[in-house]
Protein backbone atom coordinates (compact mmCIF):
# COMPACT_ATOMS: atom_id res chain seq x y z
CA UNK A 1 0.00 0.00 0.00
CA UNK A 2 1.51 3.35 -0.93
CA UNK A 3 1.46 6.36 1.34
CA UNK A 4 -1.62 8.09 0.04
CA UNK A 5 -3.70 4.87 -0.12
CA UNK A 6 -2.70 4.13 3.48
CA UNK A 7 -3.71 7.68 4.38
CA UNK A 8 -7.15 7.20 2.84
CA UNK A 9 -7.70 3.93 4.72
CA UNK A 10 -6.41 5.54 7.91
CA UNK A 11 -8.84 8.44 7.53
CA UNK A 12 -11.75 6.03 7.00
CA UNK A 13 -10.84 3.32 9.54
CA UNK A 14 -8.92 4.98 12.35
CA UNK A 15 -9.76 8.70 12.50
CA UNK A 16 -13.48 8.27 13.37
CA UNK A 17 -12.48 6.27 16.47
CA UNK A 18 -9.74 8.54 17.77
CA UNK A 19 -12.05 10.53 20.09
CA UNK A 20 -13.18 7.25 21.75
CA UNK A 21 -9.56 6.09 21.82
CA UNK A 22 -8.49 9.28 23.58
CA UNK A 23 -11.29 9.04 26.13
CA UNK A 24 -10.37 5.42 26.90
CA UNK A 25 -6.69 6.32 27.32
CA UNK A 26 -7.66 9.27 29.50
CA UNK A 27 -9.82 7.13 31.77
CA UNK A 28 -7.12 4.49 32.02
CA UNK A 29 -4.20 6.83 32.66
CA UNK A 30 -5.96 9.78 34.33
CA UNK A 31 -3.33 12.09 32.82
CA UNK A 32 -4.12 14.11 29.67
CA UNK A 33 -0.49 14.39 28.53
CA UNK A 34 0.14 10.66 28.95
CA UNK A 35 -3.16 9.86 27.19
CA UNK A 36 -2.18 12.06 24.25
CA UNK A 37 1.20 10.32 24.00
CA UNK A 38 -0.43 6.91 24.07
CA UNK A 39 -3.01 7.78 21.41
CA UNK A 40 -0.37 9.37 19.18
CA UNK A 41 1.85 6.26 19.46
CA UNK A 42 -1.14 4.02 18.85
CA UNK A 43 -2.21 6.09 15.82
CA UNK A 44 1.27 5.84 14.32
CA UNK A 45 1.25 2.10 14.98
CA UNK A 46 -2.21 1.71 13.42
CA UNK A 47 -0.98 3.66 10.37
CA UNK A 48 2.05 1.37 9.95
CA UNK A 49 -0.09 -1.74 10.28
CA UNK A 50 -3.13 -0.45 8.42
CA UNK A 51 -2.72 -3.23 5.83
CA UNK A 52 -3.36 -5.85 8.52
CA UNK A 53 -6.82 -4.43 9.25
CA UNK A 54 -9.28 -6.99 7.86
CA UNK A 55 -12.28 -4.71 7.69
CA UNK A 56 -14.50 -6.40 10.27
CA UNK A 57 -14.66 -4.02 13.24
CA UNK A 58 -12.66 -0.82 12.99
CA UNK A 59 -13.70 0.47 16.40
CA UNK A 60 -12.53 -2.66 18.25
CA UNK A 61 -9.33 -2.78 16.20
CA UNK A 62 -8.38 0.82 16.98
CA UNK A 63 -9.38 0.69 20.64
CA UNK A 64 -7.51 -2.59 21.15
CA UNK A 65 -4.28 -1.00 19.95
CA UNK A 66 -4.80 2.04 22.17
CA UNK A 67 -5.83 -0.04 25.16
CA UNK A 68 -2.75 -2.26 24.93
CA UNK A 69 -0.51 0.77 24.64
CA UNK A 70 -2.20 2.41 27.64
CA UNK A 71 -1.91 -0.72 29.78
CA UNK A 72 1.75 -0.98 28.86
CA UNK A 73 2.25 2.61 30.01
CA UNK A 74 0.32 1.92 33.22
CA UNK A 75 2.52 -1.07 33.98
CA UNK A 76 5.63 1.03 33.54
CA UNK A 77 4.46 3.86 35.77
CA UNK A 78 2.28 2.27 38.45
CA UNK A 79 2.81 -0.50 40.97
CA UNK A 80 1.68 -3.72 39.34
CA UNK A 81 -0.77 -4.42 42.16
CA UNK A 82 -2.91 -1.53 41.01
CA UNK A 83 -3.75 -3.37 37.80
CA UNK A 84 -5.20 -6.21 39.80
CA UNK A 85 -8.97 -6.35 39.72
CA UNK A 86 -9.19 -7.96 43.16
CA UNK A 87 -8.59 -4.75 45.04
CA UNK A 88 -11.92 -2.99 44.96
CA UNK A 89 -12.75 -3.54 48.60
CA UNK A 90 -9.94 -1.51 50.02
CA UNK A 91 -10.11 2.21 50.67
CA UNK A 92 -10.42 4.56 47.68
CA UNK A 93 -7.25 4.71 45.64
CA UNK A 94 -5.13 7.87 45.78
CA UNK A 95 -6.53 8.88 42.39
CA UNK A 96 -9.96 9.24 43.92
CA UNK A 97 -8.75 11.40 46.82
CA UNK A 98 -6.86 13.61 44.45
CA UNK A 99 -9.86 14.08 42.19
CA UNK A 100 -12.09 14.85 45.15
CA UNK A 101 -9.60 17.43 46.36
CA UNK A 102 -9.82 19.03 42.91
CA UNK A 103 -13.53 19.36 43.36
CA UNK A 104 -14.60 16.86 40.73
CA UNK A 105 -17.88 15.06 41.12
CA UNK A 106 -18.00 12.09 43.40
CA UNK A 107 -19.15 9.95 40.51
CA UNK A 108 -16.06 10.84 38.49
CA UNK A 109 -13.87 10.19 41.51
CA UNK A 110 -15.55 6.85 42.13
CA UNK A 111 -15.04 5.77 38.53
CA UNK A 112 -11.43 6.94 38.63
CA UNK A 113 -10.96 4.97 41.84
CA UNK A 114 -11.95 1.65 40.26
CA UNK A 115 -9.15 -0.74 39.37
CA UNK A 116 -8.25 -0.18 35.70
CA UNK A 117 -9.52 -3.60 34.58
CA UNK A 118 -12.99 -2.78 35.91
CA UNK A 119 -12.83 0.87 34.91
CA UNK A 120 -12.07 0.15 31.25
CA UNK A 121 -15.02 -2.26 30.92
CA UNK A 122 -17.41 0.25 32.45
CA UNK A 123 -16.10 3.16 30.37
CA UNK A 124 -16.42 1.15 27.14
CA UNK A 125 -19.93 0.02 28.04
CA UNK A 126 -21.43 3.15 29.61
CA UNK A 127 -19.60 5.99 27.90
CA UNK A 128 -18.84 4.46 24.49
CA UNK A 129 -21.90 2.18 24.53
CA UNK A 130 -20.04 -0.78 23.05
CA UNK A 131 -21.38 -4.34 23.05
CA UNK A 132 -20.04 -7.08 25.33
CA UNK A 133 -18.50 -8.72 22.25
CA UNK A 134 -16.60 -5.56 21.27
CA UNK A 135 -15.42 -4.97 24.83
CA UNK A 136 -14.22 -8.58 25.04
CA UNK A 137 -12.29 -8.10 21.77
CA UNK A 138 -10.69 -4.88 22.96
CA UNK A 139 -9.74 -6.08 26.43
CA UNK A 140 -8.80 -9.57 25.27
CA UNK A 141 -10.96 -11.57 27.70
CA UNK A 142 -14.05 -13.81 27.26
CA UNK A 143 -17.50 -12.19 27.19
CA UNK A 144 -18.29 -13.83 30.53
CA UNK A 145 -15.37 -12.00 32.12
CA UNK A 146 -16.62 -8.71 30.71
CA UNK A 147 -20.02 -9.38 32.28
CA UNK A 148 -18.59 -10.16 35.72
CA UNK A 149 -16.25 -7.15 35.61
CA UNK A 150 -19.11 -4.86 34.65
CA UNK A 151 -21.19 -6.27 37.47
CA UNK A 152 -18.41 -5.77 39.98
CA UNK A 153 -17.65 -2.25 38.73
CA UNK A 154 -21.31 -1.26 39.00
CA UNK A 155 -21.71 -2.69 42.48
CA UNK A 156 -18.74 -0.65 43.68
CA UNK A 157 -19.94 2.55 42.04
CA UNK A 158 -23.43 2.12 43.45
CA UNK A 159 -22.02 1.52 46.93
CA UNK A 160 -19.72 4.52 46.75
CA UNK A 161 -22.19 6.97 45.30
CA UNK A 162 -25.30 5.77 47.09
CA UNK A 163 -27.45 8.62 48.25
CA UNK A 164 -25.22 11.19 46.56
CA UNK A 165 -26.54 13.51 43.92
CA UNK A 166 -24.54 15.73 41.67
Amino acid sequence: MNGSAAGEVFARVVVPHLPAAYRLALWLLRDPAAAEDVVQDAAERAFRHIATFRGDNACAWVLRIVRNQAIETLRKTRPSAELDEDLPDRAPLPDADLLRAEGETTLRAALAGLPPTLRECLVLRELEELSYRDIADIVGVPVGTVMSRLWKARQILMARTEGLRA
Binding site: G3, G7, R23, V39, L107, L111, L127, Y132, T161
Partner: protein
Protein backbone atom coordinates in the same frame (compact mmCIF):
# COMPACT_ATOMS: atom_id res chain seq x y z
CA UNK B 1 -37.85 -16.11 45.36
CA UNK B 2 -34.71 -17.55 46.99
CA UNK B 3 -31.46 -15.58 47.17
CA UNK B 4 -29.72 -18.21 45.12
CA UNK B 5 -32.08 -17.75 42.21
CA UNK B 6 -31.68 -13.99 42.42
CA UNK B 7 -27.89 -14.27 42.35
CA UNK B 8 -28.22 -16.38 39.24
CA UNK B 9 -30.43 -13.69 37.69
CA UNK B 10 -28.00 -10.83 38.34
CA UNK B 11 -25.90 -11.11 35.20
CA UNK B 12 -29.06 -11.66 33.15
CA UNK B 13 -30.63 -8.53 34.61
CA UNK B 14 -27.48 -6.62 33.77
CA UNK B 15 -27.40 -8.09 30.25
CA UNK B 16 -31.01 -7.06 29.75
CA UNK B 17 -30.12 -3.56 30.96
CA UNK B 18 -27.24 -3.49 28.46
CA UNK B 19 -29.49 -4.62 25.60
CA UNK B 20 -27.64 -7.88 25.15
CA UNK B 21 -30.48 -10.38 25.58
CA UNK B 22 -32.61 -12.14 23.00
CA UNK B 23 -36.40 -12.00 23.27
CA UNK B 24 -36.78 -15.27 25.19
CA UNK B 25 -34.25 -14.42 27.89
CA UNK B 26 -35.53 -10.86 28.13
CA UNK B 27 -39.02 -12.24 28.81
CA UNK B 28 -37.58 -14.46 31.55
CA UNK B 29 -35.93 -11.48 33.20
CA UNK B 30 -39.10 -9.41 32.94
CA UNK B 31 -41.11 -12.19 34.58
CA UNK B 32 -38.63 -12.38 37.44
CA UNK B 33 -38.61 -8.62 37.98
CA UNK B 34 -42.40 -8.66 38.30
CA UNK B 35 -42.26 -11.05 41.22
CA UNK B 36 -39.03 -9.96 42.95
CA UNK B 37 -38.92 -6.46 44.41
CA UNK B 38 -35.22 -6.75 45.37
CA UNK B 39 -34.19 -7.52 41.79
CA UNK B 40 -36.57 -4.87 40.43
CA UNK B 41 -34.91 -2.32 42.72
CA UNK B 42 -31.54 -3.48 41.47
CA UNK B 43 -32.59 -3.08 37.84
CA UNK B 44 -33.76 0.44 38.66
CA UNK B 45 -30.42 1.20 40.34
CA UNK B 46 -28.57 0.02 37.21
CA UNK B 47 -30.65 2.41 35.12
CA UNK B 48 -30.00 5.31 37.50
CA UNK B 49 -26.26 4.66 37.45
CA UNK B 50 -26.14 4.57 33.64
CA UNK B 51 -28.14 7.76 33.39
CA UNK B 52 -25.84 9.54 35.83
CA UNK B 53 -22.64 8.29 34.20
CA UNK B 54 -23.75 9.47 30.77
CA UNK B 55 -25.10 12.78 32.02
CA UNK B 56 -22.34 13.76 34.43
CA UNK B 57 -19.23 12.60 32.60
CA UNK B 58 -19.19 14.60 29.38
CA UNK B 59 -16.90 13.34 26.65
CA UNK B 60 -13.53 15.05 26.44
CA UNK B 61 -12.91 16.31 22.90
CA UNK B 62 -9.93 15.13 20.89
CA UNK B 63 -7.01 17.45 21.73
CA UNK B 64 -5.52 19.63 19.02
CA UNK B 65 -2.29 17.75 18.89
CA UNK B 66 -4.12 14.51 18.11
CA UNK B 67 -6.27 16.23 15.52
CA UNK B 68 -3.06 17.33 13.83
CA UNK B 69 -1.68 13.77 14.02
CA UNK B 70 -4.90 12.46 12.43
CA UNK B 71 -4.67 15.04 9.65
CA UNK B 72 -1.00 14.33 9.01
CA UNK B 73 -1.47 10.56 8.78
CA UNK B 74 -4.63 10.90 6.69
CA UNK B 75 -2.99 13.08 4.08
CA UNK B 76 0.68 12.27 3.55
CA UNK B 77 2.43 14.69 1.18
CA UNK B 78 1.62 13.85 -2.45
CA UNK B 79 4.32 11.95 -4.33
CA UNK B 80 5.95 14.17 -6.96
CA UNK B 81 4.87 13.17 -10.46
CA UNK B 82 8.27 12.10 -11.68
CA UNK B 83 8.75 9.77 -8.70
CA UNK B 84 5.36 8.23 -9.25
CA UNK B 85 6.29 7.48 -12.84
CA UNK B 86 9.59 5.95 -11.79
CA UNK B 87 7.80 3.78 -9.23
CA UNK B 88 5.26 2.63 -11.76
CA UNK B 89 7.89 1.76 -14.35
CA UNK B 90 11.14 1.08 -12.53
CA UNK B 91 12.55 -0.79 -15.57
CA UNK B 92 12.81 2.31 -17.69
CA UNK B 93 15.70 4.64 -17.30
CA UNK B 94 13.02 6.94 -18.48
CA UNK B 95 13.81 9.61 -21.00
CA UNK B 96 11.95 12.80 -20.35
CA UNK B 97 9.72 12.45 -23.38
CA UNK B 98 8.71 8.94 -22.41
CA UNK B 99 8.09 9.97 -18.84
CA UNK B 100 5.92 12.79 -20.07
CA UNK B 101 3.87 10.38 -22.19
CA UNK B 102 3.44 7.99 -19.30
CA UNK B 103 2.54 10.77 -16.95
CA UNK B 104 -0.46 11.54 -19.10
CA UNK B 105 -1.60 7.93 -18.79
CA UNK B 106 -0.77 7.03 -15.22
CA UNK B 107 -1.30 10.30 -13.40
CA UNK B 108 -4.91 11.27 -13.80
CA UNK B 109 -5.13 11.72 -10.06
CA UNK B 110 -4.31 15.14 -8.75
CA UNK B 111 -3.87 16.43 -5.27
CA UNK B 112 -7.28 17.14 -3.70
CA UNK B 113 -8.59 20.52 -4.75
CA UNK B 114 -8.49 23.29 -2.13
CA UNK B 115 -12.27 23.69 -2.36
CA UNK B 116 -12.69 19.97 -1.59
CA UNK B 117 -10.25 20.27 1.28
CA UNK B 118 -11.99 23.32 2.75
CA UNK B 119 -15.40 21.59 2.53
CA UNK B 120 -13.98 18.36 3.98
CA UNK B 121 -12.45 20.30 6.86
CA UNK B 122 -15.84 21.91 7.50
CA UNK B 123 -17.66 18.54 7.47
CA UNK B 124 -15.01 17.02 9.74
CA UNK B 125 -15.41 19.94 12.11
CA UNK B 126 -19.16 19.41 12.33
CA UNK B 127 -18.61 16.03 13.96
CA UNK B 128 -19.29 16.17 17.69
CA UNK B 129 -16.53 17.73 19.71
CA UNK B 130 -14.52 18.86 16.68
CA UNK B 131 -16.00 22.23 15.93
CA UNK B 132 -14.17 24.62 18.20
CA UNK B 133 -10.92 24.62 20.10
CA UNK B 134 -11.49 28.06 21.52
CA UNK B 135 -15.04 29.09 22.25
CA UNK B 136 -15.43 32.82 22.46
CA UNK B 137 -17.42 35.59 20.93
CA UNK B 138 -14.61 38.01 21.68
CA UNK B 139 -12.11 38.48 18.89
CA UNK B 140 -9.57 39.68 21.42
CA UNK B 141 -9.71 36.19 22.92
CA UNK B 142 -9.82 34.25 19.67
CA UNK B 143 -6.96 36.02 17.89
CA UNK B 144 -4.32 35.60 20.64
CA UNK B 145 -5.37 31.97 21.02
CA UNK B 146 -3.71 31.23 17.67
CA UNK B 147 -0.41 32.76 18.76
CA UNK B 148 2.21 30.07 19.10
CA UNK B 149 0.05 27.55 17.28
CA UNK B 150 0.57 29.06 13.83
CA UNK B 151 3.41 30.93 12.18
CA UNK B 152 1.06 33.78 11.31
CA UNK B 153 -1.62 35.82 12.99
CA UNK B 154 -5.02 35.45 11.29
CA UNK B 155 -7.27 38.49 10.98
CA UNK B 156 -10.24 37.95 13.30
CA UNK B 157 -13.34 40.08 12.92
CA UNK B 158 -16.68 40.00 14.63
CA UNK B 159 -19.83 40.76 12.67
CA UNK B 160 -22.30 40.21 15.49
CA UNK B 161 -23.78 43.65 14.81
CA UNK B 162 -24.89 42.56 11.35
CA UNK B 163 -26.10 39.07 12.24
CA UNK B 164 -22.93 37.01 11.82
CA UNK B 165 -21.61 36.59 15.38
CA UNK B 166 -18.16 35.13 15.95
CA UNK B 167 -18.45 31.80 17.79
CA UNK B 168 -14.86 30.70 18.17
CA UNK B 169 -11.83 29.30 16.42
CA UNK B 170 -10.13 26.06 15.60
CA UNK B 171 -6.81 24.83 14.29
CA UNK B 172 -7.33 22.93 11.03
CA UNK B 173 -5.30 21.38 8.27
CA UNK B 174 -5.81 22.54 4.69
CA UNK B 175 -3.53 22.64 1.67
CA UNK B 176 -0.85 20.65 3.50
CA UNK B 177 -0.45 23.09 6.38
CA UNK B 178 -2.03 23.97 9.71
CA UNK B 179 -4.42 26.87 9.28
CA UNK B 180 -6.69 29.04 11.37
CA UNK B 181 -10.41 28.34 11.11
CA UNK B 182 -12.86 30.91 12.43
CA UNK B 183 -16.42 29.92 13.14
CA UNK B 184 -19.32 32.31 12.66
CA UNK B 185 -23.02 31.78 13.24
CA UNK B 186 -26.01 32.80 11.14
CA UNK B 187 -29.30 31.73 12.74
CA UNK B 188 -29.05 27.93 12.89
CA UNK B 189 -26.16 27.78 10.39
CA UNK B 190 -22.43 27.77 10.95
CA UNK B 191 -19.84 29.34 8.68
CA UNK B 192 -16.23 28.21 8.68
CA UNK B 193 -13.64 30.70 7.51
CA UNK B 194 -10.22 29.16 7.00
CA UNK B 195 -7.45 31.68 6.46
CA UNK B 196 -3.76 31.45 5.74
CA UNK B 197 -1.08 33.65 4.18
CA UNK B 198 -0.80 33.30 0.42
CA UNK B 199 -0.51 35.12 -2.86
CA UNK B 200 -3.65 36.71 -4.24
CA UNK B 201 -5.58 34.17 -6.29
CA UNK B 202 -8.76 34.54 -8.35
CA UNK B 203 -11.89 34.28 -6.21
CA UNK B 204 -13.84 31.07 -6.52
CA UNK B 205 -17.26 29.91 -5.55
CA UNK B 206 -19.22 26.71 -5.89
CA UNK B 207 -20.99 23.88 -4.13
CA UNK B 208 -19.61 20.54 -2.95
CA UNK B 209 -21.68 17.88 -1.17
CA UNK B 210 -24.38 20.47 -0.55
CA UNK B 211 -22.02 22.97 1.10
CA UNK B 212 -21.44 26.34 -0.50
CA UNK B 213 -17.98 27.81 -0.58
CA UNK B 214 -16.43 31.12 -1.55
CA UNK B 215 -12.76 32.03 -1.63
CA UNK B 216 -11.04 35.39 -1.81
CA UNK B 217 -7.72 37.04 -1.11
CA UNK B 218 -7.11 40.14 0.94
CA UNK B 219 -4.00 41.76 2.40
CA UNK B 220 -1.74 38.79 1.66
CA UNK B 221 -4.17 36.27 3.14
CA UNK B 222 -6.24 33.63 1.40
CA UNK B 223 -9.75 33.02 2.77
CA UNK B 224 -12.17 30.15 2.25
CA UNK B 225 -15.69 30.40 3.65
CA UNK B 226 -17.71 27.17 3.79
CA UNK B 227 -21.26 26.75 5.03
CA UNK B 228 -24.62 25.12 4.48
CA UNK B 229 -25.98 28.66 4.47
CA UNK B 230 -27.56 29.76 1.19
CA UNK B 231 -25.31 31.37 -1.37
CA UNK B 232 -26.82 34.85 -1.19
CA UNK B 233 -26.28 35.20 2.55
CA UNK B 234 -22.83 33.65 2.30
CA UNK B 235 -21.99 36.36 -0.27
CA UNK B 236 -23.28 39.03 2.12
CA UNK B 237 -21.02 37.59 4.79
CA UNK B 238 -17.98 37.58 2.52
CA UNK B 239 -18.68 41.17 1.46
CA UNK B 240 -18.23 42.22 5.10
CA UNK B 241 -14.60 41.14 4.93
CA UNK B 242 -13.71 43.56 2.12
Amino acid sequence: MSDETCAAMHLLIQAEHDGELGAAEAARVAAHLQTCTACAAHAAALRRLSTRLRAELPADPLPLRLQAVAARLSAPPPVPAWRAVRRQYPGFAAGLALAACLALVVLPRRAPDLADQAVTAHIRALQPGHLMDVVSTDRHTVKPWFAGKLDYSPPVQDFAGVGFPLKGGRLDYVGGRPVAALIYGRAQHLIDVTVWPGAAAPSRDGTTNGYNYLSWSHDGMVFWAVSDLNKAELRDFVALWH
